[in-house]
């Protein structure tokens, strides 16, 4: 393994982000920092009712307020928002409104305070409709209907539901079991809560729309906008250079981009539409809540023989994404069946948040396996190691799978064998516990594109469509280009995130950037290297195939003393352009990054407070292209898991249907104070299908974190908390029983 790494010049090192300087000096220009001449500010008015028909809108008072330039609503701006609802037509303003927070109108004014004041002057008559907040209630036949066919989001195509998956012979599997266990686990809606509030700046120039978006994908944002505004792609430009986080809720184009665009059209002025933090918590989406009913058959030694999962997930008023649960993915299950019902309710939309279908269902499944290990008198380490996945859906091999090594190395680092004790046996008020769980995320390469321009002085521009949402993708692309091209990293300039300039990118979501765009960067580098070698062949009087390029030197492979600096090769070439569109696919194999996490906690049995005293995250992500941001991502994923485990929940008041804590303080995201040092271990074996052997990094770390902590709490207390978040009151209550 070490030998493989030595072959690389740039890959696999610890390299600060190439745009770190801009990020630490305040020079990085985020969407909200953009000021255009004559720009207006916009704000959004939202429904105070969970379900209501709008029977009248009077905007006259708002329009009379000095400084107000336009008010748009469903009556004068019926713009479809395709990515906002995959199963029913959704508009940027809907009638009826279907949850507290559904957008009703938007105002553009000369400053944001005036726009905000104007919201209060819009008079709306609502006719209240019956509503339902709970997913199980919503499935009852007499529940108020949110969608015409009922509240089970039956969907279509990729979004068909119920989501059903099965293999093997379930009945036989349960017959083979020595013991069969059944239980239910519950998780709540949590918000992505990225630091940068949603913001969009739109302007029109002679029929061409430019949107400075805060998006995770400029290409798919452009596609969405062009479709919904009925424009050719050439008349839409989407730009996102610096982006302040999204974790899945800034994929594609969203209603705020559309509202800014329509207000800019109506006023004939550029418009900046800003979400408040409250808008951000209720107006877009968070992670779907779930109720997971498991039936698990095991042998006496803990080996799983069958798993049945029946679940409902709360996707809120509109179906934006799958509503699936995939936490069973990391276990070898010979006989399996799951039925997941995504359900509509009159609540905030539940959709993508970092590893959308995973941390909530890993919490359920890995908690239950940990419980079963306890019932059978088996050490959880043995239970997880025994049942870790070997083949995808029990049949397809993986491109690479070092989950076993993750478990071994992680358990060694935390000292599992010395520290594990039987659950609930510790004396004293503060009890020590240790826990673990398995996780990961699919790795599937796909469509990517890149352009590399080599300048006459031997420096190069890399053009990629990717936005950098904080993963360090821009730096990773530069590293791949430097490695593949054979020039030093500091000779590469990256231009990214501008659909008028940069080529297609899939979008920075689903941990896809390196897997999709990475191969295209390599192919573009190969394309331009051929051109370089053709020029150098004449200069060195050898055949092009005999040449190599490394560290900015073109040389004869068989005799490196015959060499010539790149700038001398290309100085009269004007500009060489390498380009590639690639679409690698996996055939008869499945790709996945894997992880095993371990935590030690101290539970204060007087207060119910839990402190994480040690956290170890062992990851198989193939070759790590750049250690520094890769480790940061692992650490950050764990911290988000900590919030989900202990505190975070968007609470909807049962009586008023109003989300009562749509802000950082009350939704309780983790701070510096409760974050432990997260120790990261990379089990590095190159994956045969990944660019330079790399798999995916961004999403895996959040997947096992919640279950790991929950299992450590069980080990400390001997009490199983089956509902997130695991707050002190739940712990105290459990300890009393």
């Amino acid at each position: 393994m070490a030998q493989v790494q030595n072959e690389f010049s740039v890959v696999g090192r610890t390299i600060p982000r190439i745009d770190a300087y801009e990020r630490v000096t305040g020079q990085a220009q985020y969407t909200g920092d953009i000021q255009l001449p004559g720009m207006l500010y916009a704000r959004v008015l939202r429904s105070p009712h969970p379900h209501a028909k709008i029977v009248g809108i009077d905007t006259s008072k708002a329009e009379k307020l000095s400084g107000v330039k336009a008010v748009v609503h469903h009556g004068n701006a019926k713009i479809p928002w395709s990515s906002g609802g995959h199963t029913h037509p959704r508009f940027i303003f809907n009638n009826p409104v279907r949850f507290v927070g559904d957008a009703v109108a938007a105002v553009a004014a000369t400053d944001r305070h005036i726009a905000e004041e104007a919201l209060g002057l819009i008079e709306i008559k609502y006719e209240k409709l019956p509503y339902v907040l709970d997913a199980n209630e919503a499935l009852k036949p007499d529940a108020p209907k949110i969608a015409p066919e009922g509240n089970l989001s039956v969907g279509k195509g990729a979004f068909s539901a119920p989501i059903e998956e099965s293999w093997g012979d379930l009945e036989q599997g349960f017959k083979e079991a020595d013991r069969v266990f059944e239980d239910t686990y519950i998780t709540k809606h949590t918000n992505n809560a990225q630091l940068e509030p949603r913001v969009s700046v739109a302007k029109w120039d002679a029929g061409k729309l430019t949107v400075y978006a805060s998006t995770q994908g400029v290409s798919n944002a452009r596609t969405d906008i062009a479709k919904d505004f009925v424009l050719p792609l050439s008349k839409v430009r989407v730009v996102s250079k610096y982006m302040g986080g999204g974790f899945g809720n800034k994929n594609q184009a969203q209603d705020y981009d559309y509202m800014a665009a329509v207000l800019a059209k109506v006023t004939n002025q550029p418009v900046k539409l800003e979400f408040t933090r409250e808008d951000d918590y209720i107006g877009m989406h968070g992670r779907w809540a779930s109720e997971q009913k498991y039936k698990i058959g095991v042998k006496k030694d803990g080996t799983i023989t069958a798993v049945q999962l029946d679940a409902v997930t709360n996707v809120g008023a509109y179906r934006k994404q799958s509503g699936n649960l995939s936490g069973t993915d990391f276990y070898q299950i010979p006989n399996f069946r799951k039925v997941i019902k995504p359900v509509h309710t009159n609540t905030v939309v539940g959709a993508n948040y970092r590893a959308p279908a995973y941390p909530q269902s890993v919490f359920g499944f890995a908690s239950f396996l940990d419980q079963i290990a306890f019932e059978l008198g088996i050490n959880p380490l043995e239970m997880f190691q025994k049942n870790r996945i070997q083949k995808y859906k029990s049949k397809t091999p993986f491109t690479s799978n070092y989950l076993e090594e993750c478990v071994i190395e992680g358990s060694k680092r935390i000292g599992w064998n010395e520290k594990w004790h039987k659950p609930g046996v510790m004396g004293g008020a503060k009890k020590h516990g240790i826990g673990m769980a398995l996780g990961g995320y699919p790795f599937r390469p796909g469509l990517g594109a890149a352009t590399i321009r080599v300048n006459p002085d031997g420096t190069a521009h890399l053009l990629v469509g990717v936005t950098d949402i904080g993963t360090g993708a821009k730096t990773t692309m530069a590293i791949i280009a430097a490695e593949a091209l054979g020039i030093p990293l500091n000779q590469i300039q990256v231009t990214n995130g501008d659909t008028d300039v940069t080529p297609y990118s899939v979008g920075e979501s689903g941990s896809r950037t390196t897997a999709f765009t990475g191969p295209a960067v390599i192919a573009a580098a190969e394309d331009v290297r051929k051109q370089i070698f053709n020029l150098a062949a004449a200069q060195l009087k050898v055949k092009a195939e005999e040449l190599n390029l490394r560290e900015g030197q073109v040389f004869v492979k068989a005799d490196p003393s015959q060499n010539i600096p790149l700038e001398r090769v290309v100085r009269n070439a004007g500009e060489l352009i390498g380009r590639a569109t690639t679409n690698p696919a996996l055939k008869d194999v499945e790709g996945k990054s894997f992880a095993a996490h371990f935590a030690e906690v101290e539970v204060d049995t007087w207060t119910g407070q839990v402190r994480i005293t040690r956290y170890v995250a062992a990851h198989d992500s193939g070759t790590i292209l750049n250690r520094l941001p890769a480790e940061s991502q692992i650490k950050g994923g764990v911290v988000q898991g900590i919030g989900m485990a202990f505190t975070e929940e968007l609470i909807t008041d049962r009586v008023t249907a109003i989300p009562i804590n749509p802000n950082y303080r009350d939704a309780k995201v983790p701070t510096h104070l409760e974050t432990p040092e997260v120790e990261v271990i990379f089990i590095e074996h190159p994956d045969p299908y990944g660019p330079f052997g790399g798999k995916v990094v961004g999403e895996p770390p959040i997947t096992p974190a919640v279950a790991t902590i929950a299992n450590a709490i069980f080990n400390a207390t001997g009490k199983r908390i089956k509902e997130l978040p695991i707050t002190p009151d739940k712990i105290l209550l459990a300890l009393q029983v």
């Binding site: 770190a20 630091l195 509030p197 940061s632 303080r665 701070t671 510096h672």
Partner: protein
Amino acid sequence: MEDEKRGKAISRRGFLKGIGGGAIGTAVISTGLLNSSSAEAYAPESVGGTRSKATVTLKVNGKSYRVEVEHRDTLAEVLRDQLGLTGTKIGCDRGECGACTVIVNGRNLYSCSQLTVWMQGKDILTIEGLAKGDKLDPVQEAFIEHDGPQCGFCTSGQIMSGKALLLKNAKPTEAQARRALSGNLCRCGNYNREVAAVLAAASKAS
């Protein structure tokens, strides 16, 4: 009508009174970032309607700026929109996240929770004023080396709180650094890195 409008504007700023409640676990915004005492220092004699204006001289990063502001304009808004100093970010606009942290008279403060009219004569330092010419501040350098920014949106605030700490305490312990930064949220969860960077800057400077 005029009164009604003013009422709305004041309620928008209700956070000055309204912030409360504990954050997660034992975390409380503890670093004095919400300095409401300066409210008393400002005599509101020129308050008229919602859009009443005042002229304020701001000293930012060593330079003086004369700006005309509405009474309701926060320091964060004026820094960003009028002075073009957009390194100071607005993450929540309600004194919770710390993305807007600047240093005023040597103390880190949430600039979203300070009215600009309170800033007359005060010494304001923003992220743009940290570097001396081409030479970055040690905290900035350490943030580069230790991968302090992921998405980078909270980074200015983290750096300013780190800087404010080091101004008072050149050799903080890890616990002190965490506490000093605890009013700055990072949803990328890069807390390990940010604390490590501040500690590295401290040890480098000594």
